[in-house]
Chain length 324, copies 2
């Protein structure tokens, strides 16, 4: 199968929102008047962003999800995406699964594939996503102010638990492993929450490299510091709450590490005025997304990590670096 | 050097046109009122789109040039691009050269880097480029009409000559090789010509996989056929004209094959009314780009390749397929 047949069979769909479908030299996009276009590119490489064991359908989902997560962090509504794909060989069952997972998530967010490129080479997936946001309303990393609460959406650390199980450093029951693995392989981009937080959150970022690393981007861009409650974050590890009322499955150290330094969470960490607490909770309800307060912004630079009683932790946490 | 240091050192530049510089979750773009955004993504892989011998500075140029060429084929003016880069290791001299070549071409076209991604993995360069074009004025593949002239810009086949020299199937003098190699490694995107052809060309495509393959996209999209003068195209191989007044350096068969099936030319092939010949020539002058008539569109489907006297050629020509 040649390049054009491959595109035709697995990726050609009728154009909807784009004035022109895919298949010309460029795709054409026309943002509505008063809207800015939010753009983000992410490249996924085997062994770095996914394991060779991942089902192609889940990989198709994840490749788009990590990009939609960037739109969510800006409060942008998804519009369209391009897909560039390098494949070692034309594997039809892989392509069928990959495109199924990709389009299932794309359709859920009404996000149209408008163009791209395919080539033969080591497996590499590069998606560029486009969203729109009213001019001046994008959530940025730079708006956090001393006194603001720090919030995080959803759950934390489960993707890291699954990764450690794959690495053999942790043993998980089959059921817990499957649940954690799904969080790693099929993250949920918090698009609706991002949109609901327009005009409410003072800053936002998505958690891809780990909570403290990504919160660090907010602190650096906003030129502020913060105190973070490690145990409030650790309580968000979903796999630990497997059986209602049951004892903790993991040690406190494992929970803190996975929640704070896990990576691959694709949750939103954001800040908002203390006076906006009810409004934030309402945005969580509107978007059917749990939101939890885990700390607060301070004028003093640096990140202070404390336990549930406010006592500073000696433990050292790092974030995930794709070049480390 | 970590991911963020790498971005900071080689790719961070102050924001110009984008409402937001790179460094947030998304870049923000605001097309001017009445403009559509043209978008194209290309992925470059070693051994498919460039050889390991290419100088990083030339590769930086080429990675952006092939994307600008897609904008040119739509008549769009460059605005911005994102860069996703997978690197086997952090090689500072490679990064310095690559970013120098990339930004030299970007600056020439006032095209701003607004975001991207870096990761460790097999070398892979994925650029998504954004341009703007007045709504409804984009050059498309689908507008060719029977009777239209077929034109091509610049020169053809030199990149293929260089590739064959690298492969050892052709011997070139050092001087001719260097000239041809530069065409392969540093193609010139015909951006000014594309813009000048708005409202004049009835269809356009850029020549990346070879003249007849890419002309084939126009024929398919426009549901027309064509007759193409192989010798008019073969006369555009620049390396053959090395010494003024000198004899041909290459056989007629080599020249025809390189011109028609060469690939990597990044010229524009386009169609226009016969009545617009002077206007097309004027657009060539305005944009300082040679334009040459090489055939005409016909209602009868299929591509008929003829020699300078109009006699059909028996020779079979193919285009380049990244999966063949």
């Amino acid at each position: 199968m040649g390049e054009f047949d491959l595109i035709e069979r697995y990726f050609a769909r009728p154009a909807k929102r784009s004035p022109l479908g895919n298949g010309d030299d460029c795709a054409l996009l026309a943002p509505a008047p008063g809207m800015q276009l939010a753009v983000s590119s992410d490249m996924l490489v085997e062994g770095r962003h996914f394991l060779s064991t991942v089902a192609p359908e889940r990989l198709g989902h994840k490749a788009l999800a990590v990009n939609l997560s960037d739109l969510a962090a800006c409060g942008a509504a998804p519009l369209a995406f391009t897909l560039a794909l390098s494949l070692p060989a034309v594997d039809e069952s892989w392509l069928a699964g990959f495109s199924r997972g990709l389009f299932a998530l794309a359709d859920e967010h009404d996000c149209e594939l408008v163009g791209g490129d395919t080539t033969r080479g080591p497996l590499n997936i590069c998606i560029t996503v486009f969203g729109e946001v009213p001019a001046g309303k994008a959530l940025l990393r730079s708006g956090a102010k001393p006194g603001d609460d720090i919030w995080v959406s959803g759950t934390l650390g489960d993707a890291r638990l699954a990764l450690e199980a794959f690495r053999g450093t942790l043993a998980l029951s089959a059921e817990v492993f499957e649940q954690a693995r799904r969080r790693m392989e099929q993250p949920t981009p918090r698009v609706a929450l991002g949109i609901a937080l327009r005009g409410i959150a003072s800053s936002a970022v998505d958690v891809s490299d780990g909570l403290i690393g990504d919160l660090g981007h907010i602190l650096a861009s906003s030129r502020v510091g913060a105190t973070l409650d490690a145990d409030a974050a650790a309580a968000l590890v979903a796999a630990n709450k497997h059986a209602p009322g049951s004892a903790d499955l993991f040690t406190r150290e494992v929970l803190r590490t996975c929640a704070l330094s896990g990576g691959d969470d694709y949750e939103l960490v954001f800040t908002a005025l203390v006076a906006a607490r009810d409004t934030v909770l309402q945005a969580g309800i509107t978007s059917a997304t749990a939101v939890t307060r885990i700390g607060h912004i301070e004028a003093a630079p640096g990140l202070r990590i404390v336990d549930a009683r406010g006592v500073p932790l000696a433990q050292h946490f790092t974030s995930f670096d794709h070049f480390a």
